[in-house]
């Protein structure tokens, strides 16, 4: 199997695992969103991942193309996270292109995705959004030694995402639905940041499986 085929398989496997873990946590994500938002975050993420999985089923394209397709399908879940995660996937996919799928290329692609999400959503770190998990992760990934494998780098960067998501518990929402409830969002982690960690963890599992 060539690197491009491996990369495609990883994306497919990732989407399958992500759907699994998000479905398992759908209620939890809904509850987190209900604390100061509208309770639909779990449902929206499940819907988006289902659509993304269907979208990549019928094609044998490379990882970049698959992510573009997955992003378009994910968007259709609607809501803030449909738009943002959908745009994230598509923009990472576009930046990834034909590869190579090494740590450096993937990091650059994720940086492109991060800035797209920040441009679209206009959220800054500390606003209590998925940015607070995504940005620390991307920064940590970029800080890994250049010669590491993608899998090793990914694994090493994960704790930064988790710490970032955990830190949202103490933040007051300034973007998205919860923003209107200000103080009421305190004490609960941001649902979008929480689900983003699940997505990143699923990717670690997919990389481990497919690259073993």
């Amino acid at each position: 199997m060539g690197s491009s085929e491996i990369a495609g398989a990883v994306v497919r496997r990732w989407l399958a695992l992500a759907l699994e873990v998000i479905t398992a946590h759908e209620e939890e994500l809904g509850r987190l969103d209900a604390a100061a938002g509208d309770g639909d975050h779990g449902a929206t993420m499940v819907r988006g991942l289902r659509a993304a999985n269907v979208a990549v089923e019928k094609t044998s394209d490379g990882a970049g193309r698959l992510l573009i397709e997955a992003g378009a399908a994910f968007s259709d879940a609607g809501g803030a996270s449909g738009a943002l995660i959908g745009a994230l996937l598509s923009s990472v996919g576009r930046a990834l292109g034909e590869g190579p799928y090494d740590a450096a290329t993937v990091t650059k692609a994720l940086q492109a995705g991060l800035s797209m999400v920040m441009r679209l959503g206009k959220a800054q770190p500390g606003d209590k959004t998925l940015i607070d998990a995504l940005k620390p992760f991307v920064d940590a990934l970029a800080a890994q030694p250049a010669d590491q494998s993608l899998m090793a780098a990914w694994r090493a960067a994960l704790p930064a995402a988790q710490a970032g998501a955990a830190a949202t518990r103490e933040m007051v929402a300034r973007r998205g639905r919860s923003a209107k409830l200000g103080e009421r969002s305190l004490g609960h982690p941001d649902p979008g940041a929480t689900s983003l960690v699940y997505l990143l963890q699923a990717m670690e599992a997919a990389l481990t499986e497919e690259c073993a």
Binding site: A34, D38, D40, G78, G79, A80, A179, K180
Partner: protein
């Protein structure tokens, strides 16, 4: 609590199908999209008012599609903004040479998706403008009016924009009038109990007996503040205190009034409350214009209500009075 469904996953699709089956005399499905358009639309030479948002707010949004009101509504899943792709498809179906006005409640998800669709339409040469409804005084302080979310005030802004569009006003003019209606519309609400999403068994929030929430949202969000329960008279005062403090500087004495139920609040209770609202308005020297006490923008089966005032003037009143015919609102 949502009781009637087959598969919660298909909820939106079945809801659209049922809505179109029931009200096929007003609307039809936009082919290949999650939305409905007025029979006979696109209307050549007239601005197309496109409204939308998550489902769960009926009659908003699809109930307001028809001549004199919206050309189309884009329908998201329950409490989730429709995707940019769906908004784009619906826009394409009803856009005329006169242009398109997007009008919706100001929520992050809606802004993200409508903005993306607007961009795409503009790239294709369709002139699209956007007016976001920001009537909820509880959701951001004065000075940050643009940050506020849209709740029941949607109705007045849609009605006025739709009437201007039907009259044949230019896109510039329809946009201006919608913006003016929004600037003169203020809402404030109270909630007594949360709502439950289809397929879930627990409400999004609960309110302790003897308490109520102030500054509710229409997405099952709890209020911005909790308070002890009060009498109808006290609630009327509390709502009006918040709204009257926001009267536009050039406000006249005539206000359109909407006492809006969120779903589970009884009409009878709302009339009891309206009695006290009306008295207070008169006492303030205001003249309530064709009040509406009804469910116009709901939040599934949430218990609570909001009061909306729209300060009218010689320009807005005829637009509010103009005829329209939609599944949920008929004026003639």
């Amino acid at each position: 609590m949502t009781k009637l469904y087959n598969d919660p996953t298909d909820f939106r699709e079945e809801l659209i199908e049922g809505f179109v089956a029931a009200y096929g005399r007003f609307v039809r499905r936009v082919p290949g999209a999650s939305g409905v358009m007025a029979l006979g639309a696109p209307w050549p030479g007239k601005v197309a008012l496109v409204i939308g948002g998550g489902s769960g707010h009926y009659p908003a949004f699809c109930g307001y599609v028809g001549p004199g009101l919206a050309a189309a509504a884009v329908m998201g899943n329950v409490f989730a903004a429709p995707s940019a792709e769906q908004i784009y498809r619906v826009t394409k179906a009803v856009a005329s040479d006169a242009g398109v006005l997007y009008c919706y409640g100001n929520y992050s998800g809606d802004v993200l998706n409508f903005d993306m669709a607007e961009l795409r339409c503009q790239e294709e040469g369709i002139d699209v403008r956007t007016v976001r409804v920001t009537d909820d005084v509880a959701s951001a302080p004065r000075g940050q009016e643009d940050e506020r979310r849209g709740i029941a005030g949607d109705f007045f802004v849609f009605k006025i924009a739709g009437a201007a569009a039907a009259r044949g006003d230019s896109l510039d003019e329809v946009e201006r009038l919608a913006r003016k209606a929004n600037a003169r519309t203020r809402s404030f609400g109270v909630a007594f109990g949360g709502c439950t999403l289809p397929g879930q068994s627990a409400p999004l929030f609960t309110v302790e007996p003897g308490r109520m929430e102030l500054g509710l949202g229409v997405h099952g969000e709890p209020g911005v503040q909790s308070s002890h329960m009060r009498s109808a008279r006290e609630i009327a005062d509390l709502l009006l205190d918040a709204l009257l403090a926001e009267a536009p500087s050039d406000a006249g004495a005539t206000v359109a009034v909407l006492l809006n139920g969120l779903g589970a609040t009884q009409y009878e209770e709302m009339f009891v409350l309206y009695k006290d609202v009306h008295r207070r308005l008169l006492a303030e020297g205001l003249s309530p214009y064709k009040p509406i006490v009804n469910e116009m923008v709901t939040s599934l089966d949430m218990a609570g209500c909001s009061l909306t005032l729209c300060w009218l003037d010689a320009e807005l009143t005829p637009l509010l009075d103009a005829p329209c015919a939609s599944p949920a609102y008929i004026n003639c």
